[in-house]
């Protein structure tokens, strides 16, 4: 017997439509992100309290992203003498200053430079983790991780499965790398290869959005999960994003998305730097489309990802867009969109849109047109709401 399937227009829900002639934005959209006022950062210590991820009654300090990473690494090195930190140019503080002063504080046995070999760094880290250490390996740029791809895909990711009953694993292994666009990185200082790693079962892929998130997620990756973690740090935020970060040890769970702004009419799913563009676009659209209320979700862990939180949100809002910086083709957005259409089909009021980098390389002169900006996100949200 054929059961007629309810389609969008047969849905018992009252479809919500918004004015198709929504007015244009009142102000320019593609302005530089104002990190000093964005609601995504904790500009005062008081906004830290009451959030479950953060320790209660903690003291805090204003840190940018590289300082927060530095704080997490210092905390990790102090917490366990199993923690090692190494990579190219790590000893003098790293090219992004994430390991500043750590060799002086913890000695060159635990914090050291490696020769210039990404496959060597990854393999070395896997070996150290296999023998019970907690190696935090730095790849200088995500663009340069590919020589390590074999070690990550064929070794780190398959280690536990291969060992089987021995219980051997490479938990504690974290491979950190700066990623993403900065406006002038061109072909080889811009890439965000998270989707490549997310295709590989066995590794966890994390992209923090802010200093306080980065510290908790990095400590979590080192201490709380016995799986290898690819930890990708949006390098534009190293200096740009400044907020209050708890001083002490704390962890934020992996594979748990966070609703950073609740809403009822549309779900915007993103991670890393584009969240700031999303936030700006949402605030502009909520101003021009009165009464519209948009939910913003930070995926935080790209894989294994928090499907329930996203599906729950979309079942509520009925509309979704996914925003990421790397190429749209076979990207993270494809996985999320497919999962939404499978898990929330009957609740969908519009197709799931993806706003992402175009399917090309990031030529120096073309970056402003290739990467998703506030205007493109605004446009996609408007189209989705008006569908």
């Amino acid at each position: 017997m054929v059961v007629p399937r309810a389609s969008r227009w047969l849905s018992p829900r009252v479809p919500r439509r918004f004015y198709s002639a929504a007015p244009s934005p009142a102000a320019k959209l593609n302005l530089p992100i104002d990190y000093k006022s964005t609601p995504l950062l904790h500009h005062t210590p008081s906004s830290l309290s009451g959030i479950a991820d953060f320790p209660a009654a903690a003291t805090s300090k204003r840190l940018n992203l590289f300082q927060a990473i530095n704080s997490a690494l210092r905390t990790a090195l102090s917490t366990s003498d199993k923690v090692l930190l190494f990579g190219e140019d790590v000893a003098f503080g790293g090219v992004f200053r994430c390991s500043m002063d750590l060799q002086t504080e913890f000695g060159s046995d635990r914090v050291f430079n490696t020769p210039l070999t990404e496959q060597g760094i990854a393999g070395f880290a896997i070996g150290a983790a296999a023998e019970g250490m907690k190696p935090v390996a730095e790849i200088q740029f995500a663009d340069y991780v590919y020589p390590a791809f074999d070690q990550i895909v064929n070794e780190a990711a398959k280690f536990r499965y291969r060992e089987g009953n021995t219980g051997g694993n490479v938990g504690g292994l974290v491979i950190r790398m700066p990623c993403g666009a900065v406006g002038h990185g061109a072909l080889y200082h811009t890439q965000s290869p998270e989707s490549l790693f997310s295709h590989i079962p066995g590794v966890r892929v994390v992209v923090p959005r802010s200093p306080s998130q980065a510290k908790g997620l990095l400590l979590s990756s080192i201490f709380k999960y016995n799986d290898p973690v690819i930890f990708m740090e949006p390098k534009i935020l190293y200096r740009a994003a400044v907020e209050h970060v708890p001083n002490e040890y704390y962890t934020i769970p992996l594979s748990k998305a966070e609703v950073v702004k609740p809403g009822k009419d549309l779900t915007v799913i993103s991670y890393g730097q584009p969240l700031y563009n999303c936030s700006a676009a949402i605030s502009a659209l909520e101003k021009t489309m009165k009464g519209v209320n948009i939910e913003l979700i930070d995926l935080r862990t790209i894989y294994p990802w928090d499907r329930p939180t996203i599906l729950e949100s979309v079942r509520k809002t009925g509309r979704a867009i996914v925003v990421h910086e790397s190429m749209v083709n076979y990207g993270v957005g494809a996985e999320i969109a497919a999962t939404i259409q499978q898990g929330a089909f009957l609740r969908l009021e519009a197709p799931v849109k993806r706003v992402a980098g175009w399917t090309t390389h990031t030529g120096l002169a073309f970056e402003p047109f290739i990467l998703p900006d506030v205007a493109r996100i605004y446009d996609a949200m408007k189209q989705t709401l008006e569908y």
Binding site: K28, A91, P115, Y146, P147, L187, L364
Partner: protein, 416 residues
């Protein structure tokens, strides 16, 4: 190859275990190794360091008074001097190549490009990613757009086979195995075409890049396939902040060439004549016996920062750099030689510097269409749709984008 080796053996019995009167085994992996009852480990520090070939001393005088002057016309040496932006290694080694030779370089070899005819205008167009270039390549590592070019290219659009120096890739060492393959291609093509005078590939990289797996793969495959390639390692003491002591513990990069069965020489990279002569002989060897790889390790010191984003005094003493600048550098050494010969003086120096400073500035950006071209041979159907979607966005939100710098503005997205 195996046959040649067997013929060279002087032992009588060829049994694998070495029975009989032979004093050596014939394991397939080490065909000429003598037996010994003396258990002795090789210790790198017991071996003498590989010497460094030099022609000029630091006063610009020829060291070996018994030899003749360098076999280079004075006017050519003057050209080298004007082309020497940073290190002398690039200019002097490129001078030993023929125009038909193919080069694969890293991002510190502007001198190679300049020596082979690249103009300052070419460099600046690439730095500014303007319409004279195709707007794609990266400038220096991060911030300003005015320092060492990283991804210089020289491409003819007429035929890919006319490319003599390939566009530069930022990932380190990737070009080294490619150079071996390219050299093999030249070898085969030159065998098939007797009218073509034999060519080599010259491949440049630093001592840091030589830590990458690609370096080791490259030397080994080049040796096994007897590729006519000259590997030029520019050993300048630092890979960003990492000093050679943390990069390797062997005798430089030269000792590795020997390990791979490759003819190797170490030269004084601050001595342009040593580099030139070493490279010339390396090229000759690379084409001898049907082709084989050669390694040239040129020793120098990186007096500048790694890039404009780098402040190297965070990891090395200013005095160390000043000392090197004062004590020895290839430009001053060559200048002394030229002045000793009466070929150069302060007035000429000033005039040349003034000319070089008048570098052309940035021009218009290429059309936006070029963001999508050359990913594949043809723009895919998917990318065409993306271009239309981008055009719609640019039309819907005209105030959000500054199209003025781009050739043809919004119409630059249309098909050509």
């Amino acid at each position: 190859m195996q046959d040649e080796r067997s013929q060279r053996e002087d032992g009588e019995a060829q049994s694998p275990s070495g029975r009989g009167r032979t004093d050596r085994v014939h394991f397939p992996g080490a065909v000429n190794s003598k037996f010994t009852s003396d258990m002795k480990f090789l210790k790198a520090s017991d071996l003498p360091a590989i010497p460094t070939y030099r022609v000029l001393d630091s006063d610009g005088e020829i060291v070996d008074k018994t030899r003749g002057p360098p076999d280079v016309p004075d006017e050519e040496v003057l050209t080298w001097y004007k082309n020497m932006l940073t290190e002398g290694i690039a200019v002097a080694s490129a001078a030993a190549l023929t125009p038909d030779d193919v080069v694969f370089v890293q991002y510190r070899e502007t001198g190679v490009f300049q020596q082979r005819g690249f103009t300052l205008k070419n460099f600046m167009s690439q730095l500014f990613a303007n319409a004279n270039d195709n707007g794609r390549e990266e400038t220096c590592l991060f911030t300003t757009r005015k320092a060492t070019p990283e991804h210089t290219k020289s491409r003819s659009t007429s035929s890919k086979y006319t490319v003599k120096q390939h566009a530069i890739s930022s990932p380190l060492a990737t070009q080294i195995p490619q150079a071996a393959g390219a050299a093999y291609a030249l070898k085969i093509q030159d065998l098939q075409n007797p009218n073509q005078s034999p060519r080599v590939v010259a491949c440049y990289f630093g001592e840091g890049a030589a830590s990458e797996g690609d370096f080791h793969a490259a030397l080994n495959i080049a040796a096994t396939r007897s590729c006519p390639v000259v590997f030029v390692c520019r050993n300048n003491g630092y890979a960003i902040s990492t000093p050679t002591l943390e990069q390797y513990r062997g005798d430089g990069i030269a000792s590795r060439g020997v390990g791979y069965g490759i003819d190797t020489i170490r030269v004084d990279g601050n001595d342009v004549f040593a580099v030139y002569e070493g490279m010339k002989e390396a090229r000759r060897r690379a084409l001898s016996d049907g082709g084989r790889p050669v390694l040239v390790e040129a020793m120098s010191y990186r007096v500048s920062h790694h890039s404009t984003s780098d402040d190297s005094f965070a990891y090395r003493a200013r005095v160390e750099v000043e000392d090197w600048k004062r004590r020895d550098n290839p430009i001053i050494r060559l200048r002394k030689w030229l002045e000793n010969k009466g070929l150069w003086n302060e007035d000429m120096e000033k005039e040349t510097r003034d000319q070089l400073r008048q570098a052309p500035s940035g021009r218009r950006n290429p059309p936006i269409r070029e963001a999508f071209t050359d990913v594949y041979e043809d723009i895919t159907e998917e990318a065409q749709e993306q271009m239309q979607e981008l055009k719609r966005i640019l039309q819907t939100y005209p105030d959000e984008y500054d199209l003025r710098p781009y050739k043809d503005g919004i119409n630059g997205l249309d098909k050509q």
